[in-house]
Amino acid sequence: MDLVTSSLLVMCAFAVLTSFAALLSKDNFYSALYMSITLLVIAGVYALYNVQPVFVLIAFVFVGAVGAVTVVLAASYRYVRPQLNLNFVWAIPVAITMAVLAYTLYSYVRYGVNIAYSETVMLNFARHYTVLALLFISLSILLMMSVVKFIRRESV
């Protein structure tokens, strides 16, 4: 097993562990921090295989913007619950589903990681999906305008 594959295994294990830490933490602030670490590790998996644009989008847009706001909100509404934030009635079926899914995927998916990303992919994307990119920019601007309008209306 080479270094990249070993790193992939470690990163996947670390992402799962930090997601469990987010679930089991009694404090929302630490839960948000663990969630941010999980997302950064997921972005790191893309960086490991040199898919840099996706790493940038996840790390800067998703973790950097939305994740940071979540951490700030969790710090603002910070209170530690005395008991664990876990519904044990639902934990059992979820654990069974996890076991079945993990066994099925591990038994039947036999492909190796062979990432075919290159610089030409970005050029192809820019050439074929210009309208899609413009649509996303328009969607984001519209969404932000409607959110600002909504907040202003509520504050009156």
Partner: protein, 101 residues
Amino acid sequence: MIAVVLVASALILLVGYLMAISSKDLVRLLISLELMFGAVFLALFPLFSIPEITATAFGIAVLAIFTSGGELMILITSLIVLDKQIRSISTDEITAGGDEA
């Protein structure tokens, strides 16, 4: 090795589901949603292994990141507005379907 990535993705998704079911306040619900979206991003990773659809995989990743970011922004706005209106972010305060109690 793709199996390991998919198993990790499925585990994170189920942790997100369990967290959403167990959440007592909207901040925790927001965190659980972000975990679920993180699992989706990890599940997209194997698509980059197929040379014919790498550009399409990148398009799907961009689509997922933008739409999930927009959705989370709306949830954050709702959280702030709810706190302004009822001075609480507890999920117990929210009546079913947004109906008045």
